[in-house]
Symmetry: C2
Subunit: 204 residues, 2 copies
């Protein structure tokens, strides 16, 4: 039986909800999920490895990738570009492996435009109160910045409609189990399997 | 936060695929899934308990249930009626509990008509050869009967299109894990959660 194409899983949600923590915990589980590596024009920090933490690109090369539609999504923060190279994702999916992208809400909506068959998961805080407390817990942001992130978070929650699934991040391990279940269930969807099984029904 | 309505999970598939075995194995797992009890007009066998194995009904009462649309599906085998009472399913779902029905393909398609929001899972043999070997393994059926079941099975596989998910029953425990994942994933579907979370986005 021929190997199915992998799934692109897009994990997103408001700043502070715990996307990074959930993704890191997922890595500790025994899954075949591959992790997409972003490209950026910023300089590598101490200990960062090209192709592991990021693909470090000169500005001209990044801009050529934008122009040639080689990025599933991209954004510019201050003076640096960040984005998701399309080639790595496409090649991995073609090998029958699932790929997960952990990105901001705006980036996820861009991916939806160019890759609508992806599985879009919105990671949700148990409450807005809890989200504020997580942002405060980082201890790195001023009250004004936190207020502004909370305003953005409320707007982002309204965009939940563009996603396929909503996973509450009440406890990291529970959120990870829900994400793993979503991946398993998506592989069992009739639409993904019907051709394979029609062949099976003809052969005895 | 108000409790979500439960899900109706319909597990079906060709005769011999192992629906009963998978359902029994699922019962041994720690889940909150409830098992629907069928109604029948046949006489109880030694040790069968009313309301546990079946709801045993007089013929007149069963026919009144058909007439009043109190069954999600029903069929007549030889001289006896069998069917799924609607009330138990509706009451259990309203309590926020999931209900699983394990039924034949024709019954599942009837349920689809009256309960389209159910989660329909088609249990699939790894191959038709394996299905024949499972039917032979029962040791209770003649070669003619097995041939006829195989013909029906091929027709039923064509009906897979009416289902939401296809689960391969290669190993019982793997099939059970896939079904549990489907149930978890369905509870995370955006459509089922969006109203709840829109309320959340308004309250801090």
């Amino acid at each position: 039986m021929k190997k199915d194409r992998g799934l692109l899983i897009v994990l997103s949600g408001p700043s502070g909800v715990g996307k990074g923590t959930v993704c890191a915990a997922l890595r500790n589980h025994d899954t075949d999920i591959q992790y997409s590596v972003s490209a950026t024009t910023r300089n590598p920090r101490e200990g960062e490895v090209d192709g592991v933490n990021y693909f470090f690109k000169p500005k001209e090369e990044f801009e050529a990738m934008i122009k040639n539609n080689r990025l599933l999504e991209w954004a510019k923060y201050v003076d640096n570009y960040y984005g998701t190279p399309r080639d790595y994702v496409e090649e991995t999916l073609a090998q029958g492996k699932d790929v997960i992208l952990e990105i901001e809400v705006q980036g996820a909506l861009q991916v939806r435009e160019s890759f609508s068959e992806g599985v879009f998961i919105f990671l949700m805080p148990p409450s807005l109160k809890e989200l504020r407390s997580r942002l405060q817990g980082r201890g790195t942001e001023t009250k004004d910045l936190i207020d502004s992130r909370m305003t953005v978070a409320k707007e982002e929650i309204e965009m939940m409609n563009k996603y396929d699934y909503v996973v509450e991040n009440d406890e990291v391990e529970l959120a990870v189990e829900r994400i793993k279940s979503i991946v398993t269930a998506e592989h069992c969807k009739k639409e993904r399997l019907i051709e394979k099984y029609k062949e099976l029904a003809e052969v005895e």
